[in-house]
């Protein structure tokens, strides 16, 4: 008679211990944690300043038989000026030297305050931020009653280009000299280009 009783007590004792462990395990499942690694960073940069040393200057030229939109002048960012005549409208370049009055030349924009060797992405927009294109050119206006010229295809002395666009690299001192060229076009339907100075503006945008 005693043996069964002893046996039952042992089993019961073991069962109690297992039950306690089960309750403990369930409690731990509801009081746990998981950790993950996140990343954080900041980019310290400097306030860059840009100043215009020279505007883009197409120089002196004469337009014969205006009315066509197919005559143009390319002022390259290296300083070379060339003209292309249209079917009806022709352009004669005048005053070829850089030192001549009314002389031509690329625009020059001095950048300072960039980081040493910083990559400076350059783009050209109008005052609304829209890119300068053939459909959205810089319009040069001159004497009252005269026609206008369109300017597009702005280029600069880029160091390279990547997915973010063309860029120039700042030097070790954080400076860069950006020379800018462009193409001037006569405008269709213009009957006269009076002698005088024609001006327009654009924004040079630096992204860094």
């Amino acid at each position: 008679m005693n043996r069964p009783l002893l046996a039952i007590r042992r089993i019961s004792g073991a069962a109690a211990a297992v039950l306690a462990a089960a309750v403990l395990a369930a409690g731990q499942a509801r009081a746990g944690m998981t950790t993950y690694t996140g990343h954080d960073y900041v980019s310290v940069t400097s306030a860059i300043t840009v100043s215009e040393a020279d505007a883009i200057r197409f120089g002196n030229f004469a337009v014969a038989t205006p009315g066509g939109a197919d005559a143009s002048i390319v002022m390259s960012d290296t300083g070379a000026r060339t003209s292309t005549n249209g079917v009806s409208t022709t352009i004669a370049l005048l005053n070829g030297g850089f030192s001549d009055a009314g002389s031509q030349g690329p625009g020059l924009y001095n950048v300072s305050g960039a980081g040493a060797g910083a990559t400076l992405y350059v783009s050209f927009t109008d005052h609304t931020g829209a890119a300068i294109t053939s459909a959205n050119p810089v319009v040069l206006t001159g004497p009252a009653g005269s026609g206008t010229f369109d300017v597009d295809t702005l280029t600069f002395n880029q160091s390279g280009s990547d997915v973010n666009g063309p860029y120039i690299l700042a030097d070790a001192g954080g400076n860069a000299a950006i020379t800018v060229g462009a193409t001037l076009h006569t405008v269709s339907g213009v009957s006269t280009y009076a002698p005088g100075t024609y001006r327009g503006t654009f924004d040079l945008v630096l992204s860094y």
């Binding site: 069962a15 395990a25 998981t34 950790t35 993950y36 990343h39 954080d40 900041v42 980019s43």
Partner: protein
Amino acid sequence: MKKYLFILCLLPLAFPAAARAAYTNDGVEIEPIYFGQIVIVSNSSAQSCTLPAGGTMTCTSGIQILHTGQYGVFRLSNYDPSVAIWASIASSPALTGPDSSTFSIGSFTFAPDIGSIGTEEAPPGGTLTLYIGATLTTTAGATYSLAPYRGTYTLQINY
């Protein structure tokens, strides 16, 4: 009698084990915490930038924001949807760069606001997109290079 008791004891162990195996508590960093591009104009006293979770970064007067920052984003999935979770930051070492200067990181915030036991929340469907904000602080008088400063932090999800 012996067999009957033994089976009764095993059942409570088997069920919780099966329940835990169903929830793997996964977490993926979708976006790091990015304090943007800043210009430190004056640092004679400590300056800071606060990037709220789901909000817009602001900085004290000694720091100019060139490009604004972006709060961090974590995607939590495969959590038990019936169990509330809350978030904490186990560690947040300073951001380091090319010099000995550092930025301290702290005052983390979360959206949804599950940053304490009192505001814990059960992830609907076991999934939760968690926005994480923080505050970056300079060391007064320190000089910072024009460069990125990077670090890591440890997000802890408690349940």
